[in-house]
Symmetry: C2
Subunit: 178 residues, 2 copies
DNA sequence: CTAGAATTTCAGTAAATACTGAAACTTCAG
DNA sequence: CTGAAGTTTCAGTATTTACTGAAATTCTAG
C-alpha cells in the first residue's frame, strides 16, 4: 500500500470533505482509498495506509457498509476480510443520493406530515409555510426515488443533458398529447 | 415570541437536523424560526425564543446571511436590525442547493481537474476512477446550475413530474429532430 | 462630538465527536 | 477441544466544534 503523491492528496482531500458529506474524516479516507484501489484491501492494510488505528478502521468500515458503499470479499484459503468499493462510481453516487434522502429528508418529512394532519386551523402563516416545506421535500423525495430506480446508463444519458434540462421541459409543454 | 408546541417541536427538529444539513444546531433553529414567523425578528427576540446567548444568535445570523437564507430589514424610526427569511420556500430551497454545490462539489471538482490535467499515464486504474468521479460531479454540477437558474415556477412544474422524469427522457428519444 | 443603544467579536469553557488501544469476542485449522 | 489469527467493542482520551458572556466596536440621534 504505497500511495502516490496524487493518490495521497486525493484520499486526504476526501477526508477533509468527509464532514461536509455527512461522515467523518477516516470514513472519507477509507472510502476514497477503496475507490481508487483495484484490489480488495484488508482492514490491516487500510490502517497502515492511512496511519490510523485498527479499531478506527473497523468502525469506519462498518459505517461504510451501512451506507452500502463497500463490499466484503474473501479469497480462497484466506480467512481475512477484504473490502472493495461496491460497483461503479455511478452506482455509488446513486447510493449516496438515496441514503442522504433517507437521513436528511425523510425524518423532517415525517414530522411535517404528522403536524399537518393534526393542524387545528390556527396559526395560518406558519401552517402554510410548513405545508410549502412539506410539498417541496415531498417532490425532492419523489425525484430522488425516481432517479434511484433508474439504470445507471439511463441516468447517465439523462444527466448528460445537463443545462439542456430546461429545454426538454419546454418541449414537454408542446407535447402534452404524447 | 411565544411559540406553540408544534412550532417549538418543528424548530427543535430543525436544530437536531442542522448538522446533517451542514450547519449547527442554533443555525438550524434560527432558520426554522424565521421561516415560520411572518414578522421580522430582532436578534434579541430570537435569543429569547431559543434560550441561547445573544452572541450565539449574532454568529448564527451571520452564517445564515452567508448562505443567503435570511434578509436584514429595518423599521422606520427604529435602529434595531430585524431579520426575516429571504423569499419563498422555493427560493430558499434553490439557494441551499446552490450553496451546497459550492461547498460540497466544487472543491473536489477543482482538485480532480488539476490532478487529471497533470496525469502522467501511470496508475491506469486509479486515474480512470478519478476521471469517472470527475465526470459524475461535473454533470451533477451542471444540473445544479441549470436548476438554480430556473424560475421557481418552472422548477416547480418540472418537479411535479416527479416519478415521471424518466417518461420525459423517453420522449426526448422520439424528439431528436425538434 | 457625545452618549447610549445596538451589534459583533472573541477568549474561555462546555459539549459533542472522533480516535486509540487493549480486552473481549469469533472463527476455524489441527 | 485448543489456540492462533482475525475482528469488534468500548472505556478513556484527544480533538474539534459550539456556546457564553463580557469587552470592544459601530452607529446614530441629539
Amino acid at each position: 500500500m504505497q500511495l502516490s503523491d496524487d493518490s495521497q492528496a486525493f484520499v486526504m482531500h476526501c477526508g477533509e470533505m468527509g464532514s461536509r458529506w455527512g461522515f467523518n474524516r477516516t470514513v472519507g479516507q477509507i472510502c476514497a482509498l477503496l475507490v481508487i484501489t483495484e484490489e480488495p484491501l484488508t482492514a490491516e492494510q487500510i490502517a497502515k495506509a492511512l496511519s490510523v488505528s485498527r479499531g478506527n478502521v473497523s468502525m469506519g468500515l462498518k459505517e461504510l457498509q451501512s451506507w452500502r458503499l463497500i463490499q466484503l470479499r474473501h479469497k480462497p484459503g484466506d480467512r481475512k476480510d477484504y473490502y472493495t468499493a461496491s460497483g461503479s462510481i455511478w452506482d455509488m453516487g446513486q447510493t449516496i443520493f438515496e441514503e442522504r434522502r433517507k437521513r436528511e429528508l425523510d425524518p423532517t418529512l415525517s414530522l411535517l406530515r404528522s403536524q399537518l394532519l393534526a393542524a387545528d386551523g390556527e396559526k395560518k402563516y406558519s401552517l402554510q409555510r410548513l405545508q410549502e416545506i412539506h410539498d417541496l421535500l415531498e417532490l425532492i423525495s419523489q425525484w430522488s426515488h425516481a432517479l434511484g430506480g433508474m439504470q445507471p446508463k439511463t441516468l447517465q444519458s439523462l444527466m448528460k443533458l445537463g443545462g439542456g434540462v430546461s429545454k426538454i421541459f419546454d418541449l414537454k409543454g408542446k407535447l402534452k398529447s404524447v
